[in-house]
Amino acid sequence: MSAPTNAVVFAGDDPGDEMTLLDILDHVLNQGVILRGNVIISLAGVDLVYLGLDVILTSVETALRHVGAAALPPEK
């Protein structure tokens, strides 16, 4: 979704957009289909909040560097 106004921040539609790692973790760790069974490793109990948001945020740049994405937008 392109930004129609400065009043609201949109992200995610264009290849150059950045979804933050926090948003990605929110989705991939906490949501999604769970197929139960004894051969499945489920990580439903992992609560990353205890790891500290600052620590997670420091990993964003590493993640994006390795997957070839653009640099993070400057901090607001």
Binding site: L22, H27, G32, L35, T62
Partner: protein, 256 residues
């Protein structure tokens, strides 16, 4: 020798399930940044997998997840694969870290859930997930007032403060916003718990929105963002594959 064979054994890392197999799908690399993505036909639906090391993704997965660099890279790769498939066809995304030892075990588990999966395909057809957050904008530091006495100082400082609306009024604003979003969305769901701790966040939700209603969503967001101007900032991310709108045992999704 036995241990070498054991460590070389691969497992199937599952990204998601689709009803159709897209022909236009670009070549994708999996979470290990090496193995290609494959589609396996299970009971008439397609399970999207890549073959990964059992050491990394089965035996040591929990330990790897404590390594934030590994977790960051791998979760971004997981999302990128699902997002690429979702641009071509509707997909039910699987939670991070779901692995199977064999194709047979994968298909057996898909078969067990096939009725629920079919219902979910109907539910998400032609729709994307959007994440919406509202942040309270912190007032900037005010200049120090000059005054002779403490009383004068407090008076001067009070005069500089912007008029604060009551908490109840602010809550009403957010309720109106939530209702407006619900009017556009097919369903809403509680947002994840990782970003819940972000500084200044005052509201957060996930929306399932038909692609035909995307402009309406945009209009609602812009309208409230303009109304709130300097009080709050709205952030919207998407389109996401519908992670928050697949059936789960502890279903938190609220249907309209």
């Amino acid at each position: 020798m036995a241990s070498e064979l054991k460590s070389a054994r691969g497992v199937l890392y599952l990204y998601g399930i689709t009803e159709s197999r897209s022909r236009k799908l670009p070549e994708l690399i999996g979470v290990d940044r090496f193995a290609p993505i494959e589609a396996i036909d299970c009971d008439g639906v397609f399970s999207w997998i890549s073959r990964v090391s059992a050491d990394d993704f089965e035996r040591n997965l929990a330990r790897n997840m404590e390594n934030l660099d590994w977790l960051a890279e791998t979760s971004v790769a997981h999302q990128r694969v699902i997002a690429a498939i979702s641009r071509e066809t509707d997909i039910l995304p699987t939670r991070f870290g779901t692995v199977f030892r064999t194709e047979e075990s994968l298909c057996r588990h898909v078969a067990k859930r096939i009725r629920g999966l079919k219902k979910d395909f109907e539910r998400i057809k032609g729709a994307d997930e959007w994440g919406v957050k509202v942040f309270t904008i912190q007032p900037t530091a005010l200049p120090m007032p000059r005054a002779r006495t403490g009383k004068d100082y407090l008076k001067a400082k009070a005069a500089l403060l912007p008029s604060r609306r009551s908490k109840a009024s602010q809550r009403d604003d957010l309720v109106k916003f939530e209702r407006a979003l619900a009017g556009v969305a097919t369903e809403t769901a509680a947002a994840g718990n990782v970003s819940r701790g972000q500084r200044g966040i005052s509201f957060q939700t996930s929306l399932l929105v038909k692609r035909t209603k995307r402009k309406r969503l945009e209009s609602v967001l812009v309208k409230f963002a303009r109304e709130w101007a300097r009080e709050r900032r709205i952030e919207c991310t998407g389109p996401w594959p519908p992670y928050s709108f697949v059936s789960r045992p502890d279903d938190r999704v609220r249907s309209k």
